[in-house]
Assembly symmetry: C2
């Protein structure tokens, strides 16, 4: 089998066999197929797409390029959630403890902030002492003891995805639904899960800006995951404005803790309730999603969810007292309000601009090797649809370096739109594919 | 300017500016853009194509990646011919001496045999002593002294083409009309020519199998060459059966010599006459192509063409006596007839199969680093349309290693088609684009 012939085959819109796809991925991971051949194949896939069979084969080949965890000795269903990324999305910090409190096993492997989007690992590391770098053996032990552990990607799981993703990023081949599908699912399925809840974001702050594009990705993820023998649901959720009010690592942890205690912003609460209900539904014998929403409420109300978060934090060497005293989280030295330039109704908050404002303050990173400041970021004082008076604060900025405030202010100036009448309401969950 | 952005631009069907195309080619030639980025760009070009402006910019950038000869101090028009390659195509060996005998300067840089197609350099090297490796200084001196020199590609001319062609070959991106156009023209225009005659082959033995594909390539070559300020004609000529009767290096030299003396097969004579007439037309002040056909006849009849060939051979250290005594060319030790399996009319001779038969005998090469046997090959005893009796020889094979005859015979068995009635005539020149 010659790799160049496989490139030609895909170029000419002929599907590769399972053996051919495995050959390509195995040889590439091993370094026996050079980057230029893979780059040509990626661009051919960008134009020709992959059949569902090819996408499933690719996902499996990438998953099997490294270790695949076998968690079958642990009691309880293994369920995870994956989000395609957005601004202010701290749902993992809430739903993971709730689901674990309900008896599920949640083996969550997460990513870092990049550009305008946040990452779960950076948020967790805002908790003093929290260690996201467990070995796979310790990850498994933590799952047995606590029911949930949250760690970063390791070299051992799906190495083909890391190598391919880096090449896609360099060759303008990121935006391909089957390649995104295989990338997401290969990593998640290597965690040894039985079921997966997917949060596919749509809107100005999301990777997929239109409902049509987001739906195509959600359908692909749902159908390929199902084809691979997992229970999978994909929720299409709004990312046209940031989720919740806090954007920035420690600020988001504080908001997650509030939400775990039954408070927090309405949209964040509602979305966590929906996503968690699907996780619980997949883990339970015969419950409806609606019944599981009630169970979510009860786990919050009883304090079981907050207690599980304390245990997760403690197991990963963090300070669990932040759950009761958020002032133990890193605090920024400077805060400053951003006033409304006009009176009216808040018509839009461009999530992407808010993300860049937060990055400008130091909460995010331009390149993966940059470091982040856990304390900085911003809190939205108004959300879309609310009435504002001129001069009233739309947001509060939290900074450690005052010279960074000017750039953040410039981003915010282009983020808010005020109109004389309230905007039409936009759903939080656009669609649920199961 | 970031190369990845240029890949994205092409991927999204947006044309690159002249500066961007030059950036890409200059940086790639220098090694500052990696192969994987160029491979992604090549595949994007395969799918999106290039505009005429982009194709001309690419041609010029590739041409300027190395030295561009300036032959303006030589008197006379500088005219060359390029063929897209076929089986039995020895026209260069005939038209170059005729055109030089007419006072043109013919700076011909040629290629080698590969796969089923022959190459002018291997044919020339069948002449004892002939040296195709002149330095550019010596090439220029030979042009001044004799009016014609035939050499191989050098590192100094269009290095970007060599690097890009190797990558295209490895990444299934050879078959792209704008990329083929830029590859051919960048090399030819670096020779410092004023005008170019293109012989675009069409048929089973050609790179372009259909008239439609060949026409697209011919139109692209003609229009881009013209856009770059050269006089260019493209003739679409038949390569459904081999050209002439001889296939194999020394055998083809002998047939070229016959043709230079006014004999040789009809199709070869007719095509050389047409191609040369266009070269002479481009080099003359105000002559018609038809007038130049008569001039071709006169240069052959007078012996001026054969005398010029002797001088070209002598200037490049070869033995000019082969022109008068072809038995001085390398001779194969074994010859064997290939008999007709049936009586009737020869309906087809698959040029590609004949090419593989000749390669099986050792006349061609599978990889560029292989060597060829100058003496071996075959002579067609019948051409398409001729009547044959059962058992009458269709071809004579010339071999040095008798154990190679079996494979050559197998190729020939699938090359000939005999039918009860003569086939409809097929034109030699399908179209002329000027």
């Amino acid at each position: 089998m010659r790799a160049a012939e496989l490139v030609r085959k895909k170029r000419d819109a002929n599907p590769l066999t399972r053996e051919e796809t495995f050959f390509l991925i195995e040889q590439y991971t091993r370094g026996d197929i050079p980057d230029y051949l893979m780059a040509a194949w990626l661009m051919a896939v960008y134009f020709r797409g992959l059949t569902p069979e090819e996408t499933a084969d690719l996902t499996e080949a990438m998953m099997r390029s490294g270790r695949v965890l076998d968690l079958s000795e642990l009691p309880g269903a293994k369920v995870d959630k994956h989000s395609t990324g957005g601004v202010g999305d701290k749902t993992s910090l809430i739903l993971a403890p709730v689901a674990a409190a309900a008896g599920l096993v949640v083996p969550m492997i997460s990513g870092r902030s990049l550009g305008h989007t946040g990452g779960t690992l950076d948020k967790l590391e805002a908790i003093p002492g929290f260690n996201v770098r467990l070995t796979l053996a310790d990850f498994r032990a933590a799952l047995r003891e606590v029911g949930c552990a949250l760690i970063g990607q390791t070299e051992e799981l799906a190495p083909a995805d890391r190598k391919l993703y880096a090449l896609r990023d360099l060759t303008a081949t990121v935006e391909s639904v089957p390649l995104i599908t295989a990338s997401i699912l290969s990593k998640k399925l290597a965690e040894g899960i039985d079921a997966l809840v997917l949060d596919v974001k749509v809107g100005s702050g999301a990777f997929m800006k239109t409902l049509e594009d987001a739906t195509r990705l959600a359908e692909s993820l749902q159908s390929i995951g199902t084809r691979m023998g997992k229970r999978v649901v994909a929720l299409l959720t709004d990312m046209d404005q940031p989720l919740g009010r806090a954007v920035g690592n420690a600020l988001e942890v504080a908001e997650a803790v509030e939400t775990l205690k039954g408070e927090g912003p309405d949209d964040l609460r509602a979305l966590c309730r929906d996503l968690t209900a699907w996780m619980l539904h997949f883990g339970a014998a015969a419950s409806s999603v609606e019944q599981e929403r009630a169970r979510y409420d009860e786990l919050i109300r009883s304090g079981a969810a907050a207690e599980k978060f304390r245990r997760i934090i403690a197991r990963q060497s963090g300070d669990p007292r932040v759950v009761d005293d958020p002032s133990r989280l890193p605090q920024a030295r400077h805060r400053e309000d951003f006033p409304a330039p006009d009176a009216g109704y808040l018509a839009r908050i461009e999530a992407e601009q808010v993300g860049w404002a937060s990055m400008a303050l130091g909460a995010g990173r331009e390149r993966l090797e940059d470091s982040v400041d856990p304390a900085v970021g911003l809190i939205l004082r108004k959300k879309v649809g609310e009435k504002v008076e001129r001069g009233e604060p739309l947001a509060t900025l939290f900074a450690n370096q005052p010279d960074r405030l000017a750039e953040a202010r410039r981003w915010l100036a282009s983020a808010f739109q005020i109109a004389p009448t309230p905007p039409p309401p936009r759903p939080l969950v656009w669609n649920t594919l199961s």
